[in-house]
Symmetry: C2
Subunit: 172 residues, 2 copies
DNA sequence: ACTGCATATGTGTATATACACTCTTTAAGT
DNA sequence: ACTTAAAGAGTGTATATACACATATGCAGT
């Protein structure tokens, strides 16, 4: 097909000898393999796949499950902004994530009576049902993951992640 | 504007008394606040913003920087699949990420001489230059983040993240 | 009531992410 | 050589993510 038109080279691909800049940069770049951000993102990518698979039978991914669980966990419907803050998610990202959940009939977005600006988030009956049905599946992966990583190390890891999140929020 | 048509309620938003199912589910949902996947994803979201801001002057985000650094760190150009594996990223995701870097003239995708199926990834001269220029900025955020989290705890956290990633790859 | 600022939210746009599926090329077996 | 399975890569589609910007509402001071 060759749509992307990779460079066609001759019989043997020739790699020009790296320049001095390239050599020094290559050494420095290896240092970046220790990047905190990269490591966290990579882990997030990998672990998300397990959770997504586990929740798939319920029509949810791990992100949607987290949102449902948070909304369901708070006694009184919280505002969109506050919810986004707890999720550590940009407000506008939550807006878009909610659109799907609303469309699926799992959540409802209510206008606050006191302040017409604020939207309060709640689960529908269907949302409660789906969340209830998904919880055992979540407990399954969570248990497997815990077992695989060694359950005793989770409290520590959890605290470090919290710390890291808070630190970066400060540092900007 | 009111495009999204939130439910308009009366004077006071009424929240119907939660059903028995909802009550039980709410308790269970609070348990999900301890979700490993959620915590890792949340941290990834938060920390990414710092790194993105730091790298922005170079026209890179943290993901693009990681890709450039990895390609630059390996002596011989590696295949797309192998690179994706090291990044802990779906192969097709890397394909799309590379499209932007290719278009920006930072990377080049070469056809392997021995196997016409295989694409090998390399940096262009411009790619080397941008990477070299971005590295100090990266060292900046990395240092700040390290300092904020307590540098001594990073090796441990790093190992736990690696372990977690490997565990989930196994578990499925 | 009016003005101006702060707050809560939504939109446009660009990038990241992965699954299901398809295409191409290689290798293995006959 | 022919057939077929396996490996490498790309595309269609859906979702996640955040920044810059726009809009709507509330509130305080006049």
């Amino acid at each position: 097909m060759q749509n992307s038109k990779p460079l066609k080279l001759g019989k043997q691909v020739k790699f020009s000898k790296p320049s001095k800049l390239a050599e020094e940069t290559a050494n420095a770049a290896r240092e970046a393999g220790n990047c905190i951000c990269f490591k966290v993102r990579k882990t997030a990518r990998l672990i998300s796949q397990s959770y997504d698979r586990a929740l798939k039978p319920h029509g949810l991914n791990t992100n949607q499950f987290s949102i449902l669980a948070l909304i369901g966990a708070t006694p009184e419907p919280q505002s969109l902004t506050d919810t986004a803050r707890v999720l550590g998610m940009d407000r506008t990202t939550l807006t878009r994530n909610l659109r799907l959940l609303d469309k699926a009939g799992l959540t409802k977005t209510l206008v606050d009576a006191q302040d017409a600006r604020t939207r309060r988030l709640a689960l529908t009956d269907k949302g409660w049902a789906v969340l209830a049905a998904a919880l055992p599946s979540w407990r399954g992966v969570q248990g497997q993951t815990l077992a695989a990583m060694g359950p005793e190390s989770w409290p520590d890891l959890r605290q470090q992640l919290d710390h890291l999140g808070r630190a970066t929020t400060m540092t900007g």
